[in-house]
Amino acid sequence: MAALRLQGLKTRNLAPLDLTLAAGDLVLLSGPSGSGKSLLLRALADLDPHEGEAWLDGTACSALPAPAWRRRVALLPAESFWWYDRVGDHFDRVPPNGTGAGLGGGTPADAVGPATQALLLRLGFTSEVLDWTVSRLSTGERQRLALARLLALQPQVLLLDEATANLDPPNRDRVEDLIQDYRRDQGAAVLWVSHDPDQRRRLALPAPGLPGARRLEIQGDRLVAEPEEPAA
């Protein structure tokens, strides 16, 4: 259960931004490309230099070591990157001290733990995928596996940059369901950049045990509520 609060957060294209997401909140963000959505998410993950501060409950970003902050406030970039040949090598758990000892070792598929296996299953994979080579994955498979890789670390806030952009409808639904359950079960706040108006409309509706999403749009250099569209 964690709330995310932005205080005067300033990125290159946007005016200083104040925004609060309570635990379990979902904010959908849209805006023209190049308007600074991705840069905002990168600043929130403390991956780019920025002004202003972000708070996770009572803890300021600057008060935590950067790796600890990024494990709590996790960004899923629009493009996923892989640095080893085998999918499974990217799933080794990072120990709490962040040194990543043991990364890159040959890991059998059953070494990732039941939680990760369940994640893979919900995204339409069996554990065998861990033995696949990254080069044979499609863009959509990479996107789903990158989400599994991220959620396996159990972050408290999710920053999603077009998380379903390359997915077919069944897989898009899988991802949406998984994120919604993650909100509900973990109380995670989610900031989701989405270009898909149908998706934004769908997720704006309240679901069982979940409040509906707030829809925000970038206009010029500020965030405003997205105007309601007449139903088609």
Binding site: L47, A66, P67, A74, S80, W82, W83, G98, G100, L150
Partner: protein
């Protein structure tokens, strides 16, 4: 065996071969005659000046003067490292990282060699220090240039992968670890190769020089071995230092990858 002194006539004879080469280039329209002549002239002037400087230095045995000349050599090698980078570090770092690494490795190795191995008295006797340092610097310079070029280029091209690792909560050292390892390895390969091929393919320059100057070949071989060992130690140490400082500089206090600290790919 006595050292046979080259007379100006001997040198002129050798130089006439270069003239012949230039003539050949002109006749065959190779278009390099001017460059051949300029390069030959440059080497003649540079080597004569170095001969004069060393003559002067060897006559003094002064720590201050020898040290000053060693720093000049270090500075030139530092610029050479910068010139070989595709992505350079901005500001003083570009010159500083390579130069500092060479300073740490070459100077410590050479002082060790002069005092403990060769036992020169005094240790800064320029007749030993300057040529040995020249060979060490020349080789560590290549190694460090290759290492740093690999590091910055791979970081530039592998930005997505490095940032993906940072986003999964890895420390900067973990995120750059494979690139570091690769870079040091690349920097060490030339000296490993030249150790493996020493003597079989070509006689190394130092050994050739000593044999021409009248040393027994076995003595020359022993010196050559020592030099190869010193060079490999110096190159390894220098590459490790360069990778450590260089990779640290690629990340800031918040462990963000800061490619804006490198110059772009142009040039």
């Amino acid at each position: 065996m006595e050292l046979i002194v080259l007379s100006p006539f001997d040198l002129a004879l050798a130089a006439s071969l270069v003239l012949l080469l230039a003539l050949l280039s002109w006749r065959l329209h190779l278009g390099v005659e001017k460059r051949v002549l300029v390069a030959a002239l440059r080497s003649a002037i540079q080597l004569s000046l170095i001969g004069l400087v060393l003559n002067f230095l060897f006559a003094q045995t002064s720590l201050a003067l020898t040290g000053l000349w060693a720093l000049v050599m270090l500075g030139v090698a530092g610029w050479e490292v910068v010139a070989r980078q595709k992505h350079r570090y901005r500001g003083a770092w570009g010159f500083g990282i390579g130069t500092l690494s060479m300073f740490i490795s070459s100077f410590s190795v050479i002082i060790l060699a002069l005092i403990l191995i060769i036992g020169v008295e005094p240790w800064y006797q320029p007749q030993y220090l300057i040529p040995l340092l020249g060979m060490l610097l020349g080789n560590t310079m290549s190694g460090i240039a290759i290492t740093l070029d690999n590091l910055s280029r791979q970081a530039w091209e592998g930005r997505g992968g490095i940032e993906a690792r940072l986003l999964l909560g890895q420390s900067w050292e973990c995120a750059i670890r494979d690139i570091r390892r690769d870079s040091i390895r690349a920097g060490l390969i030339p000296i490993i190769n030249s150790m493996a091929a020493a003597g079989l393919v070509s006689l190394p320059g130092m050994m050739t020089g000593q044999i021409l100057a009248g040393s027994p070949p076995m003595e020359a071989a022993k010196y050559q071995m020592m030099i190869l060992f010193l060079i490999s130690a110096g190159t390894g140490l220098g590459s490790a230092a360069a990778v450590w400082i260089g990779s640290r500089r690629l990340f800031d206090q918040r462990q963000r990858l800061r490619l804006d600290r490198l110059t772009g790919p142009e040039r």
